[in-house]
């Protein structure tokens, strides 16, 4: 069954719902001897868009990892005010054209405060990607565990877990996330956001994994392991888990853009990370009121967010085609 199973209500961002493809082991329709890596290389050669998006993804990840050094390189810390870069007589508009882009401030400055946009965007990448990756990790771990347990043990375990999945999916997730984040105060916002976003995403993964596990658990090699006296734990980790990993990896990559968008949407609504910590969504929210007087301030974080989501989506599409042939390559 196909469902939108992104972490958030769809208004928050693009779909993160690759087709659930329960049947078949990964890459079964390909010539024998092609490892996933070979397939991935072939796919990269075939589609230049995938090469570009892989490049963009790597660039963003590097940027997030190296954020403190990058802002040191730019010469400004993300929270440093620069009164010399703004015009106090013009409502704090950045001096110079294009939002104050200059050799001093590579992407210009914020109006009013004069904080360096390059430093903030880079720092924002760190916050946005950290939350997105961590939430995805929670979703994938919880979803895989629940899905394998439901599919393998069946019976009551399956009934309980499946009801729980249905229930979670019936929650108006964006509304709920906003409400939970606004009720909870005075804690680490990044940890809080990660767990709240993660809370609603796991059923999508669980359903994919459950379907895949159901089709794997009566294969001969699993029966053989069972007859040989292997424990359930051993069968689950050694025989089932590798079989479900292909679709899970593809699904995971397509979850990430949804998570990035969700984080941005929540921060945009003002219930995400708290200032002065920047995240892309929050920077966009702050810049909306300046979109006419200082368009670059609005456009720069938007472009970064757009590129990140786009690149992860394209990469996820390609990975799905490679690892999960039924879901793609049409």
């Amino acid at each position: 069954m196909t469902t939108t199973a992104s972490g958030a209500a769809p208004e928050a961002g693009p779909e993160a719902a690759p087709e659930a493809a329960p049947a078949g082991t990964p890459a079964k329709d390909v010539a024998p001897g092609s490892s996933p890596w070979q397939l991935a290389r072939r796919e990269l050669r075939r589609r230049p868009a995938v090469r570009v998006s892989l490049g963009v993804v790597l660039l963003f990840v590097l940027m997030a990892l190296a954020a403190p050094w990058l802002s040191a390189l730019g010469g400004w810390s993300p929270d440093e005010f620069d009164k010399a870069a703004i015009d106090p007589y013009l409502g704090g508009q950045p001096l110079g054209s294009l939002g104050g882009i200059s050799p001093e401030h590579w992407l210009g400055v914020e109006p009013v405060t004069g904080r360096d946009l390059f430093a903030r965007v880079v720092q924002g990448a760190q916050v946005s990607l950290l939350i997105a990756f961590a939430a995805t990790a929670i979703v994938v771990l919880a979803g895989t565990a629940a899905g394998i347990a439901a599919g393998y043990f069946g019976g009551r375990t399956d009934a309980v877990l499946s009801r729980l999945m249905d229930l979670t999916m019936s929650f108006p997730s964006l509304i709920f996330m906003i409400a939970m984040l606004s009720v909870a105060k005075d804690v680490n916002r990044i940890v809080l956001m990660t767990s709240v976003i993660g809370l609603f995403g796991w059923p999508g993964v669980a359903r994919v994994v459950r379907g895949q596990t159901l089709s794997l658990k009566h294969r001969e090699y699993v029966d053989a392991a069972r007859v040989g006296g292997a424990s359930s734990w051993r069968i689950l980790t050694r025989d089932i888990l590798p079989g479900v990993s292909g679709p899970v990896i593809a699904y995971t990559t397509l979850l990430i853009p949804g998570m990035i968008s969700t984080e941005a949407a929540l921060s945009y609504l003002g219930v995400g990370v708290r200032p002065p910590t920047p995240s892309w969504g929050q920077m966009i929210a702050e810049s909306v009121s300046f979109y006419e007087t200082d368009p670059m301030y609005f456009v720069i974080p938007s472009v970064f967010l757009f590129l990140a989501v786009l690149a992860f989506t394209l990469l996820g599409d390609a990975l799905r085609d490679i690892l999960d042939p039924r879901g793609g390559r049409t």
Binding site: F171, L310, D317
Partner: protein, 328 residues
Amino acid sequence: MILYLVRRLLALAGVLLAIAAVTFLIFYVLPTDPAAAACGKTCSAERLADVRQYLGLDKPVWEQFADFLTGIFTGRTLGTGQFAVHCDFPCLGYSYENSLPVWNLLMDRLPVSASLAVGAAVLWLLLGLGAGVTAALRKDTATDKALMVGAVAAASLPVYFTSVMLIYGVIRVAGLLPYPSYQALTDDPLAWASNLLLPWTALALLYAAMYARQSRGSMIEAMAEPYIRTARAKGMPERTVVVKHGLRSGMTPILTIFGIDLGGLLAGAVITESIFGLPGIGRLFYGALVSSDQPVVLGVTLLAAFFIVVANLVVDLLYAVVDPRVRY
């Protein structure tokens, strides 16, 4: 079929009950004190105790929850003595902010949110399915590639960015439309549509992109089925083959996501309603959050959950209509 329906309705009630319980727990038991919020900033300890009693907050949680549930089904009386107020069925309590019944607040705003969601849905179905089916029928051509690149790009744009760009381009620069202010459909259908055109477009662009991707995939799959070959071999016109056989079975997965999306949007278009200043349920919710108006927050959450589960049920029932292979 009847048995199936009864079973589904029971499950639906169970899900709503569970969601109500979870929401209640989160918003009534956790950090913020509703009595303090209702009482206001200049509040003495004595007055606070009164308010707490008036709101029934001095009772144990499960009793509060039971009262709340009773209120939904039969209505209830809030407060005691001369201050007692009867809250009619279906009672979701009173807003702390303006002392109006939450149910009335929700119903006042529902037409706005419904107009936004349904209009956008029509637009995105037309755009998304049009693009998806076109791309599927012209698979691997330049048209297909251009449509799909456009779809991925549109899906990657956050709705608040598209909205602001639309407001800037269409309203500020071109001056083609007035700044949206909601007009009821029954008052003036033309003003209704022209005011909602931009919010519809902003939402539809995002969703259409997803539908284009999804419908392309399922359409290609459907067109590869043997019965399509049979239909062609019978000499059926290509148009009929595509519409009656391909589209019909290709629509089943689309129907699933459509139900979830529309159901979710009816009470969940928080961002779009805020940006365009539409007085819908999403904005009511956002305002209620800012002022810690918990009865309203709870009401919106429940209504939103209700729409989602009902939409899911309707979708499952529609399967049988769309896909003749499905029987209950």
